[in-house]
């Protein structure tokens, strides 16, 4: 007999076999036990998380002649017929290959006939997002008047492509990415059953590579097993996943943090000599740095199992460093698609990353000093930094800057003094902020939310938070992981960014905003106005609100404050607010009254722009194209 893939052989047969979807399976089991099943279900979630498996188990449970506590018996004639695919009452449709209206019309015609052998007719429509508009319309007709004894299960990886009219007629279940611990446990179980010896670290590598898909995990496991006779070795797991070992990754990041180019290049060469895939390396690197970020802010979200140096690095790395590494890596990953010389790209990336920190460690410099004082730092690094600062003394611009700012001075010094501009004339930065209607940033919007806020709404947002992070790209989720929901109504939600710097990034990142908005709509079934403010602004606006509330001012007569300027942490202390700014503030007020909030936002931007630090940061993050520096 031909070899059957593990993921096919070990497809779960009972609800209790399902890994990492306890909420879904428990709810479905309860529905079966209490005989309160719906006519239509929507199973959505990433690939390989068990949507089709649960659909089949559910179909069996609906038809089983010997139900045990909501679980199908897998032994009665109905169960067995479903397992072999011969029960006529359970109809599986692959929407991807049958996107025509005909098939769905066929369902409509036949749906009215009672089940022949089973108790329920169950239609499982896989990849339902591939249905054509016509087919969706035909399906809608059926869902509007569902015959009794019929259950539809629609499964999809892309729920956003399904018409709202369909979604509203279904009971929806979101399948989560499977936690590493859960997929580890499942693989351990299977290997023990099959009496195959395994290396624990090898399993962890596979679990990481599978990115939360159980099918992926088993598929990779399968392949690793095919290299060795009846055992799973670390080498085979590494070979199959192309994963870079934790140790090597950690050394590489250490080299970057210590600005040790020689070491960085050496490690890179080692990776390339081992035949590692450039793309995989970058993915692993981004994942590693993302986890470094999360380790401080949301340790629960660190999915992978990391080694000892990881903790120290998490304490050492600065937010900016981490973002720059992620962004630079991301850029290279895009470019790799167009070249056959990936090694050169990685080489350049390595040199770049190993030379970043000199000028950008600013906000953690003190942190680093605490972590390991100067004499503990490798000599080479110090020498290099000295040399570097000498070389660059005439310019504070990073290597991304197009126009060097003249007459400036850099010191590697304490927080606040770094990148301080000693200059007679203020340097003005004009960021071309893309205006978006997706996000509001003003006090009025926060007030409106507070007036309609409910505890339930906020809880719903907080419950959805982790799912939301999972739905975003790595870079996006890294940004959002620095923010929290503080108030919500059924129309809007206020997100507070702890770091003004991240807030600054987020308000300009339209893609991020769109993703958050879309994802929230998917998760909570409603469209929300997003409001992005900083922690300081939140304290301010909340205080004002509470004061007015205590003074018993009617909601429609409340006056929302003009939000304080956003001060980036690295703002040079020498720069003070000038009269000009006060005038602008008044202008803000006028604009605000004119309901011209976007204008206010961009004015705020222009004011912030006084801080030359932004020049550096913005240029690093967005490239020079969007920014010009003007000397007044």
């Amino acid at each position: 007999m031909a070899y059957q893939a593990l993921y096919r052989v070990w497809r779960p047969q009972f609800f209790k076999d399902m890994v990492g979807q306890e909420v879904v399976t428990q709810t479905l089991k309860n529905a079966i036990i209490t005989k309160q099943t719906s006519h239509a279900y929507l199973f959505s979630g990433p690939r390989g998380t068990g949507k089709t498996s649960v659909a089949k188990i559910f179909a069996k449970a609906l038809n089983c002649l010997d139900l045990k506590d909501g679980e199908p018996c897998n032994e009665c004639i109905n169960c067995q017929a479903i397992n072999t695919g011969t029960l006529n009452d359970v109809i599986e449709i692959d929407a991807a290959s049958n996107n025509g209206v005909e098939e769905i019309r066929d369902i409509r015609d036949k749906v009215k006939y009672a089940p022949t052998q089973g108790k329920f007719k169950v239609y499982i429509i896989d990849e339902v997002h591939m249905l054509s508009t016509g087919a969706f319309n035909a399906l809608l007709k059926t869902l509007e008047e569902p015959p009794t004894q019929v259950v539809f299960i629609l499964a999809t990886t892309e729920p956003q492509k399904i018409p709202a009219t369909i979604i509203s007629r279904t009971q929806r279940f979101d399948f989560k990415r499977i936690k590493q611990t859960a997929s580890l446990a499942r693989m351990e179980y299977i290997l023990t059953e099959k009496q195959i010896a395994y290396d624990q670290q090898a399993l962890q590598i596979i679990a990481t590579a599978a990115e939360g898909g159980m099918r992926d995990a088993l598929s990779i496991l399968d392949q690793a097993l095919s290299f060795a006779d009846n055992k799973l070795t670390l080498d085979n797991a590494l070979m199959v996943t192309g994963a870079v070992t934790q140790d090597l990754l950690s050394l590489y990041v250490q080299a970057v943090l210590e600005s040790d180019t020689v070491k960085g290049l050496e490690l890179l060469q080692q990776l390339l000599d081992e035949g590692k895939d450039a793309n995989r390396f970058i993915e692993d690197l981004i994942g590693y740095v993302r986890d470094l970020l999360l380790a401080n802010e949301a340790p629960k979200l660190v999915n992978a199992i990391r080694n000892n140096d990881f903790k120290t690095q998490a304490q050492t790395i600065s937010l900016q460093q981490a973002y720059t590494i992620i962004e630079e890596s991301n850029n290279v990953q895009q470019q790799l698609r167009y070249t056959t010389h990936a090694d050169v790209y990685l080489e350049v990336l390595t040199v770049k990353l190993c030379n970043l920190s000199d000028q950008k460690v600013d906000d953690t410099h003190t942190k680093q000093e605490l972590a390991f004082s100067a004499e503990n730092l490798p000599k080479k690094t110090i020498l290099k930094q000295l040399e570097k600062s000498r070389k660059d003394a005439s310019s504070i611009t990073t290597f991304n800057a197009k126009i060097p700012v003249q007459g400036t001075d850099t010191k590697i010094a304490t927080k606040g003094e770094i990148n301080k501009v000693v200059d007679d004339e203020p340097t003005k930065l004009i960021t071309k902020v893309q205006k978006s209607n997706l996000v509001k940033m003003d006090g009025q919007a926060v007030f409106l939310t507070l007036q309609k806020a409910t505890k339930g709404a906020l809880t719903a947002f907080n419950d959805a938070y982790i799912d939301l992070l999972n739905m975003l790209t790595v870079v996006q989720s890294a940004k959002l992981s620095q923010a929290k929901f503080v108030a919500a109504s059924d129309q809007s939600v206020v997100l507070v960014f702890k770091q003004p710097y991240i807030h600054h990034l987020a308000i300009q990142d339209i893609e991020l905003q769109t993703s958050i908005k879309d994802s929230l709509e998917k998760l909570l079934g409603n469209e929300y106005q997003l409001i992005f403010i900083t922690e300081d602004q939140w304290q301010q606006v909340r205080k004002s609100y509470v004061t007015q509330l205590k003074a018993k001012i009617q909601p429609d007569e409340m006056q929302a404050p003009i939000l304080a300027q956003i001060e980036l942490e690295t703002k040079p202390q020498a720069l003070t607010v000038t009269d000009e700014t006060e005038i602008e503030n008044e202008q803000d007020a006028i604009n605000s009254n004119l309901n011209n909030k976007q204008e206010v936002a961009s004015l705020n931007e222009a004011k912030n722009a006084k801080m030359t630090d932004i020049v550096n940061e913005a240029q690093t993050m967005f490239g020079v194209e969007n920014i010009e520096i003007r000397k007044d």
């Binding site: 070899y3 898909g213 790209y345």
Partner: protein, 335 residues
């Protein structure tokens, strides 16, 4: 290639992969769906053909014989149960996949198994890919499906998760140089050295090695580089007169010239890090270049160079790209 030539080639270059398959088949652990991903499509095609022979060979040994009726017909593309989808079009559409699926759901014409190869699987449209999902996951009867691609990142993740991924490595310059020397013993050593660094597969190597094109282009590039590094804007004019026309409106050659520039500036970076250089060994001004350029400048220049291949893919005129690069580098050097 004859079966024997294929075996010889694979023994030399893809022994790890064929050994892996042999072992998997021996232990009856051969999966039913694969993605072969690697820079050199020919390697993937050869292994796919070899695998089909291994599965269909009438002589029951652990290696295909290459002689029997099945082996012969597979090599000649004539076996009715071994089907190859090769599309000259830009995309492979859902209709083609539907047709193939229907064919596959019929019984095998001879024997009992079927073998499907989809070349350039990254050309599949999203619809076509989606329609393959169920088929790949649970094919009717004993079927082996192999998707060949040079870029698996262009495939749907749901396809990848249903298959086993076999990564083909590109050849190293060293091996390529050896290979080329064997094939073309009379060829100029310098040319072989340059080509082995430029190309990542034999086919491209042979292609750009024809005539003296590579030598001529390398010299043109080095002249351009020398002038440019002197911050002489004359380099701009050299594009129109030299490097531009050398592209010959041939995508492969244009790409090769961009790669020449890439490798030259990589050497500058290497000089800075005091590592061995490959292309710029005999350039007199190496020393002085380091004196006038900072690491920042070199990295900025690298940014310009690294972005160029993408422009070429976007169908921007080659000469325009070269001019843009020249101007940008010149501006960076000027400070």
């Amino acid at each position: 290639m004859t079966p024997q030539e294929i075996f010889k080639h694979l023994d030399k270059h893809q022994i790890d992969i064929t050994k892996h398959f042999e072992r998997a088949i021996e232990h009856k652990r051969l999966a039913h769906a694969f993605i072969f991903d690697g820079p050199d499509m020919q390697q993937q095609e050869l292994v796919a053909t070899w695998l089909a022979m291994r599965l269909f060979c009438l002589n029951d040994t652990n290696k295909p014989c290459g002689e029997c009726n099945n082996c012969q017909r597979i090599v000649n593309g004539e076996h009715p149960d071994v089907i190859s989808i090769v599309s000259d079009n830009k995309t492979i559409k859902i209709d083609e996949i539907r047709y193939i699926k229907n064919e596959f759901n019929k019984r095998a014409v001879e024997g009992f198994q079927k073998f499907l190869i989809i070349k350039d699987a990254d050309k599949l449209t999203v619809g076509a890919e989606n329609s393959l999902l169920k088929f790949i996951e649970e094919p009717q009867g004993p079927t082996t499906i192999v998707l060949l691609t040079q870029n698996r990142y262009a495939l749907l993740p749901t396809i990848i998760s249903r298959t086993q991924l076999i990564e083909f490595k590109g050849v190293t310059p060293k091996i390529l140089a050896k290979e080329l020397t064997n094939l073309f013993p009379k060829q100029n050593v310098d040319i072989i050295k340059i080509v082995s660094h430029l190309a990542t597969d034999l086919k491209t190597a042979e292609y750009i090695m024809a005539d003296d094109w590579v030598l001529e282009s390398t010299h043109a590039m080095l002249r351009w580089y020398t002038v440019l590094m002197k911050q002489d804007i004359a380099a701009f004019a050299m594009v129109q007169m030299g490097l531009g026309p050398l592209g010959e409106n041939d995508r492969l050659k244009e790409q090769a010239i961009l790669d020449l520039c890439l490798l030259a500036f990589r050497d500058v970076l290497r000089m800075y890090e005091q590592r061995e250089v490959i292309f710029l060994q005999n350039i007199e001004q190496n020393e002085s270049i380091l004196k006038i350029t900072s690491l920042e400048q070199i990295l900025k220049i690298m940014d310009v160079i690294l972005k160029a291949p993408q422009l070429l893919k976007q169908n921007i005129n080659f000469q325009t790209i070269m001019e843009k690069i020249t101007l940008e580098i010149w501006l960076i050097l000027k400070g």
